[in-house]
């Protein structure tokens, strides 16, 4: 029996997310036009909203389903196997953590509010400035490539400065401009530019604001690892299946030791990432505060292992490895992108070195 990966967190939520992700991927695959893909993602978002996913780990009294971190992880495990192109870690983990205590959280939990989050470390194009607040309270500056649900209704932004703050803006407020792109992994991202936009609310200020964005980002990083483990497991299965079936020189490629060893290397990377992620997830579910060091190390590993495994899988697929829609290759693109989410490899390394 060829390899079959075991999910980090199994169960009903995992199964549901897996089925959903498989259907969603099949729906997207034939669409070549970016606009058609974006429209498809928009419709898929409404379906996950109807399933209650954005509120899966939001407390019941705040309008959510009241699930715990393990439940949320199960969702990411299931969806991760399929490379689902919706921002689950952000929408179901990061954003609720940022909105904690604010009435908009209920709308975020129901999926009717679709929120883009600009956190410390968000990138700008050359010559542009990061978001800053003017004395009159209006926001100026830009953040580009912000992963978000389709057609955001709101933006949550952290601004540095003398008085750091976490601010809430309407996406259609005067002075706001959002431009959509598709990322390498087919997810939607937005370039967000503020020219005198006025925030609707201050969610947190000072140290509280900083603490909240850091916790939210670490949660996002942990979920990205969970998702990455799943994606990697599925990718190895699919690479094995491909090599077992593809015949060259009169025999399946799976008989070639060079390729077998490359796949064995992928598996070792996978197991190692699974181990470090399982340990971080266990610590996160049993301790009161998120174990930032464990998460930072896991995210560092995801960056390194993700690239290694994605590049190997592409190589093992030969020319097919260069094609767009093959499910295995979509997983590769997902892994390559995961490295940059919620604090990339370089960010995590600097943070650990500084500690």
């Amino acid at each position: 029996m060829p390899f079959a990966a075991t999910p980090l967190v199994a169960g009903e939520t995992y199964e549901t997310a897996l089925r959903f992700g498989e259907e969603a991927a099949a729906e997207l695959a034939p669409l070549a036009e970016p606009s058609a893909q974006a429209a498809c993602l928009r419709a898929q978002w409404d379906r996950i909203a109807a399933l209650g996913w954005p509120g899966i780990a939001v407390a019941e009294e705040e309008g959510g389903a009241g699930g715990d971190l393990a439940e949320l992880a199960a969702l990411l495990c299931g969806a991760g196997r399929t490379g689902l192109a919706l921002p689950l870690a952000t929408a179901c983990g990061v954003v609720p953590a940022l909105l904690s205590g604010h009435p908009l959280l209920a709308d975020a939990a129901s999926g009717s509010a679709r929120i883009a989050a600009i956190l410390p470390g968000a990138t700008q194009d050359p010559g542009e400035e990061a978001l800053r607040r003017q004395p009159n309270g209006a926001l100026h500056g830009a953040a580009v490539g912000i992963e978000a649900p389709p057609a955001p209704t709101h933006v949550v932004a952290f601004v540095e400065g003398d008085a750091p703050a976490l601010l809430l803006l309407r996406a259609d407020a005067p002075g706001m401009e959002l431009v959509a792109s598709l990322r390498v992994d087919g997810r939607l991202a937005y370039d967000i530019r503020c020219r005198g936009a006025v925030p609707e609310a201050v969610l947190a200020e000072g140290d509280e604001a900083r603490r909240r964005v850091e916790t939210a980002r670490d949660l996002g990083a942990l979920l990205a690892c969970v998702e990455g483990v799943s994606a990697m497991g599925a990718l190895i299965e699919q690479t094995v299946a491909y090599l077992n079936q593809r015949v060259q020189f009169g025999a399946p490629l799976a008989t070639q030791q060079a390729l077998r060893h490359r796949v064995a290397d992928m598996y070792v990377e996978y197991e190692n990432l699974r181990g470090i992620t399982a340990a971080a997830l266990r610590a996160a579910t049993t301790e009161d505060v998120l174990p930032w060091r464990a998460i930072a190390f896991a995210k560092l590993r995801l960056g390194i292992a993700g690239r290694e495994v994605a590049e190997s899988a592409i190589q093992c697929h030969g020319g097919m490895g260069m094609t767009e829609e093959l499910p295995a290759i979509r997983l590769c693109k997902r892994l390559l992108m995961a490295e940059f989410e919620h604090g990339g490899r370089v960010f995590q390394a600097r943070r650990l070195l500084a500690a």
């Binding site: 060829p2 796949v263 064995a264 598996y267 197991e271 181990g275 470090i276 399982a278 340990a279 590993r301």
Partner: protein
């Protein structure tokens, strides 16, 4: 059953280690010098006298009855206190085989000496013509009454020069499949007909030997299990050998030492960038070790639950061996230009002839073997691939 108080346990182990592990032993561990029987054996005796001689064995054979978490804590504290990791050949390799497959007499005869460290064991598997392809081994044992007469040659035999006994795989018959007809024998190394010759290795340490067997008489009662079934026992043992890497604690200590080395060797603002580069590489190694530590924990748990280990031994061996090599590379990059150029004094041999810190260079050289012995990386990948591809 109530959960043990793990914090109290950790404290108890630490107190014991600091109070009872002799400073001269901890000094050798801390300075990364080569461990030998002289270092290991007294420590094993002390551990055994305290009832901690064999944490990995079942309680009725002298085990401690700890759970998996306590086992991991024990390993961690031992490493943190610079106590040597317990010598593996008896405790981790042969012991479990005797417990699983040995007769009552063999258990009585051999387990106590392993427990208290009075018997020293080495492994005679490899031969000049049988390395990765171990089953092609040719050292032969023929039956003569109640003895086997053993003829042949073993090689790469670590610690043979300081051991009392060698467990060895020999051919007792020629069968169709080369894995058949192999038996596991326990050979006393002072038996007539045995010659041991040192092999010089690139690290400059003496640990491996050639062992020649010329008409050596071995009593039949020193055969473990059935005649001809040695491959099964040998593989059982090899699996445990590969799990050696499951104890990540010494590796993490090694990493901390190299981190200190980088900070002191490359101190000062002028070397800040170099230092940052090397520290960054160590961070990546640390992340790998954290992943491996979890797999180690899973392995210990699986063994304790009597569950199959699956691919874990191969995965742990593959990944920790490479990580340890990376760590040793960082150390070499820190001191290499200063010390690799002074590897051996032309004159004035002796313990103090080498510049201090040369162990880092030796260690780097030695670390190359981690991907070669105990089933090379290529062999482990073959094992993994066979499972993944289903053939």
């Amino acid at each position: 059953m109530a959960e043990p108080d793990y914090d109290a346990f950790r404290e108890e182990v630490r107190r014991f280690a600091l109070a009872h592990c002799p400073p001269e032993i901890r000094e050798v561990v801390a300075s990364y010098r080569k461990l030998s029987r002289k270092i290991w054996a007294p420590w094993q005796r002390i551990l055994h006298a305290h009832g901690w001689g064999a944490p990995s064995w079942p309680k009725e054979y002298g085990g401690t009855g700890w759970d998996a978490r306590q086992r991991v804590i024990f390993d961690e504290v031992m490493a943190e206190c610079d106590c040597p990791p317990q010598y593996h050949h008896g405790l981790r390799h042969l012991g479990p085989v005797i417990i699983e497959f040995g007769t009552e007499e063999q258990k009585q005869r051999f387990l106590p000496g392993i427990l208290d460290g009075s018997d020293w064991w080495c492994q005679g598997y490899s031969e000049p013509g049988a390395g990765s392809d171990l089953a092609s081994l040719r050292t032969a044992a023929r039956r003569e009454g109640d003895h086997y007469i053993v003829d042949g040659q073993k090689t790469w035999t670590s610690h043979a020069h300081e051991a009392d006994w060698m467990y060895t795989l020999v051919r007792t018959s020629k069968e169709e499949k080369k894995q058949q007809g192999i038996s596991l024998l326990l050979v006393k190394l002072d038996s007539p007909g045995i010659t041991i010759r040192p092999i010089r290795t690139i690290d400059g340490w003496h640990h491996v030997n050639e062992v020649f067997l010329d008409n050596v008489r071995v009593p039949v009662e020193n055969r473990i299990g059935e005649e001809g079934k040695g491959w099964t026992y040998g593989k059982f043992l090899l699996e445990r050998e590969r799990l050696g890497g499951a104890n990540i604690a010494p590796h993490r200590m090694a990493l901390e030492r190299v981190r200190d080395l980088v900070r002191t060797e490359l101190a000062g603002p002028a070397r800040e960038e170099e230092r940052g580069l090397l520290l960054h590489r160590l961070l990546e190694a640390e992340a790998e070790l954290l992943g491996a530590a979890e797999l180690g924990r899973e392995s210990v748990q699986a063994v304790m639950d009597g569950k199959p280990l699956g691919l874990l031994p191969s995965v742990v061996k593959l990944s920790t061996s490479v990580t340890m090599q990376s760590i040793s590379q960082v150390a070499l990059d820190a001191v290499g230009s200063r010390l690799a150029s002074r590897f051996r004094r032309v004159e004035g041999e002796g313990p103090n002839a080498n510049p201090p810190g040369l162990e880092w260079v030796q260690n780097y050289m030695y670390a190359r073997v981690r991907t070669i012995y105990g089933g090379s990386s290529e062999v482990q990948k073959n094992v993994i691939a066979r499972q993944l591809f289903g053939n």
